[in-house]
């Protein structure tokens, strides 16, 4: 197990390093970035940039200083917001984005798993068709379409929910729905298919042959095995939710990190783009690392292979 974790940890560091290097190289390559002699009109900003990125030094030195600043989680100043650093923006926006993201993924997990299990247990029944129709629709309707539809119908026309911003639980309903539906649909489909597969296994038949009650067969014997594949895609889902917040926050005018990120793209605020990309990538890769470890803990087979390997 220790070896397994170490290997995953090494992969995580490697991936973050690749992303950091990639951003550095790409930013150096484009005209108009702070690395390529473009001067901003604001002197204070220019000074900050030069100090943070050490623009006087040769690129290779810049690179190592840059790596060091990332390792210490210091992402430098913003060009367009003179008084803010990237860290300020992250400090303001990320908690809100995280709140939105966490609520959405919990909603997606719970509803997706329940929908998937019900569909599998009533295979080819009405619930199955209904659940899978919802799931295919959920996958097919992009979150921005769903978001606008929800605002139009439930907020503007219906008046049940506030149109935008992030203030009270009522404000959270529509953005969460818009963000969670896609991942929910993916989880529901995956749960259903893996549940159907597990239900044909001999050990399920064996559990039934023991005379166990149906709910016990499902919950104790089938569900845990069926949810293994769901655990493996959690990382990907999280990435989807995270990038989804960019669009959702823009549409609902939620002052999260996603909104700042979209602004920075439109304004070509390169340090913010760089910093946010690296921060979010590191965050996702770390989440992936945690998921891998969780999988190792859940599946007794993985643990043993690694122990034998030692």
């Amino acid at each position: 197990m220790v070896r397994y974790i170490l290997k995953r940890f090494f992969m995580m560091i490697l991936t973050i390093w690749i992303i950091a290097t990639l951003t550095f190289v790409l930013m150096n390559a484009i005209p108009g970035s702070p690395f390529n002699e473009e001067r901003t009109s604001n002197e204070a900003v220019q000074e900050n940039l030069e100090r943070h990125f050490n623009l006087d030094e040769p690129p290779i030195v810049q690179y190592f200083i840059y790596l060091k600043s990332i390792a210490t989680l210091d992402f430098g100043p913003s060009i367009k917001k003179p008084n803010s650093t990237v860290n300020d923006l992250l400090g303001r926006g990320f908690p809100i984005s995280a709140e939105l993201g966490i609520i959405a993924i919990l909603v997606a997990l719970f509803s997706g798993i329940i929908l998937g299990v019900l569909a599998a247990l009533r295979h080819n029944g009405i619930i199955d068709y209904l659940a899978m129709t919802i799931a295919v629709l959920g996958i097919s309707i992009p979150n921005f379409v769903l978001a606008t539809l929800l605002i139009q119908q439930l907020a503007v026309n219906g008046g049940f929910f506030p149109v935008a911003t992030w203030q009270s639980p009522m404000h959270m309903v529509l953005p969460t729905l818009a963000l969670a539906t896609g991942p929910m649909a993916i989880i529901a489909r995956l749960t259903r298919s893996s549940m159907l597969e597990v239900l044909t296994q001999d050990y399920i038949k064996m559990a039934r042959a023991k005379g166990l009650a149906p709910y016990k067969v499902v919950i104790k014997h089938a569900l845990k095995n069926a949810l293994m594949p769901v655990v493996t895609i959690l990382g990907t889902l999280l990435a989807g939710i995270l990038t989804g917040t960019f669009v959702i926050e823009k549409i609902f005018a939620i002052p999260g990190m996603g909104k700042y990120f979209v602004e920075s793209i439109n304004q070509r605020d390169y340090p913010v783009i760089m910093g946010t990309t690296v921060f979010y990538s590191a965050f996702l890769v770390f989440a992936l690392f945690l998921v891998d470890i969780a999988y190792g803990l859940l599946d007794p087979r993985i643990k043993l292979h690694k122990e034998e390997g030692n």
Partner: protein, 337 residues
């Protein structure tokens, strides 16, 4: 010996997209305490379906018992409610599956899987259940049972896993054990050990066993009586010695000719040509007609009369009918007619 199971005129059908498959078409047999009945046949002949139907574990709603009775200790299981069936499964009747590698849940400990049946059906504490589990592991010959209880299936070899599966099946002391190809997935040496284990267990617990297999070697070692199934019907049945030494049905004869024997050196092995009939529309007459070396015109038209050479032995075949007098039949037949 007390009779514990009687199956009468059992019909099982499966509805599929292609139509209705008549998987079992009128099967009768009975079983007594402490006895082992082997049901033999090619894959798809209906032997596993028959076994599963006794547990009422045929996949529903596709498969159903269309007709017939399964009398177990006086109750007709074919008509029993699902709830009552759950009280019978694992307690009175247990089942062992073909592949021990897939029959155990990979994410639960052996101890958990051993005791859950006991805890479900009998009012025992966790401690008592574990004590019983230790005894069972000991009975099936697993060393260090205390440690083993905490381990997961992947930490055991195939043979060991099958022993565990057997322990699980026997933990509630059932009267009937259904073993569906219990040795097929195992190495030959392990097979022998498992079959010996069956013998030991039967001596100790007097459990009746239905052994489903296509392997005549297994049958020769473990069975008391044999039922040969073909295309959803039992076409020959008798004691082990009757079926092995005086096979009546050409299909049984073919099966026996297709396995190597140590006592008859130099004889050629003869596989049976052809394939079993399509069970979407099973033939009216004898289903083996198309592959039978002695087939007659009548075989195709009318299902054969039962031929009973002894009280315990029968075969459904026209060859033994007194109306057969055509000279160019089997040599043996000319003497009897």
């Amino acid at each position: 010996m007390k009779k514990i199971l009687e199956v009468n005129d059992l019909h099982i059908t499966f509805s599929t997209y292609g139509g209705e498959i008549k998987a079992v078409r009128g099967v009768d047999f009975e079983l007594h305490e402490g006895e082992t009945l082997a049901i033999v046949g090619e894959s798809g002949c209906g032997k596993s379906v028959t076994a599963n139907s006794i547990m009422r574990l045929i996949p529903s709603p596709a498969g159903k018992i269309a007709n017939g009775e399964i009398i177990f200790k006086g109750n007709d299981l074919a008509k029993e409610s699902d709830k009552n069936m759950r009280k019978i499964r694992g307690v009175d009747i247990s089942m062992i599956f073909q592949d021990p590698m897939t029959a155990l849940n990979p994410t639960l400990t052996i101890g958990n899987q051993l005791t859950e049946g006991l805890r479900q059906h009998k009012n025992v504490s966790r401690k008592e259940a574990e004590q019983k589990a230790l005894e069972m592991l000991d009975l099936v010959g697993i060393p260090n049972p205390e440690e083993r209880l905490k381990q997961y299936p992947h930490q055991f070899s195939g043979g060991m896993r099958q022993r565990i599966v057997i322990a699980i099946a026997l933990i509630c002391e059932p009267d009937l054990l259904i073993a569906d190809e219990p040795t097929t997935a195992l190495d030959v040496t392990i097979q022998a050990q498992i079959l010996e284990l069956f013998e030991t267990i039967q001596e100790e617990t007097n459990v009746a066993i239905i052994l489903i297999t296509h392997d005549l070697g297994v049958v020769a070692k473990a069975a008391d009586r044999i039922a040969v199934m073909y295309a959803g019907k039992i076409i020959e049945s008798g004691t082990k010695y009757e079926v092995f030494y005086e096979p009546q049905h050409p299909y049984t004869q073919g099966l026996l000719n297709s396995i190597p024997r140590l006592d008859q050196k130099g004889e050629k092995l003869e596989p049976i040509d052809g394939t079993p009939p399509d069970l979407f529309s099973p033939p009216v007459g004898c289903p083996f007609t198309a592959r039978c070396p002695h087939a007659m015109f009548v075989c195709e038209k009318v299902y054969p009369l039962r031929h009973e050479p002894s009280e315990t032995h029968y075969a459904d075949c026209w060859l033994y009918d007194e109306r057969v007098h055509t000279p160019n039949l089997m040599n043996k037949k000319e003497e009897t007619t």
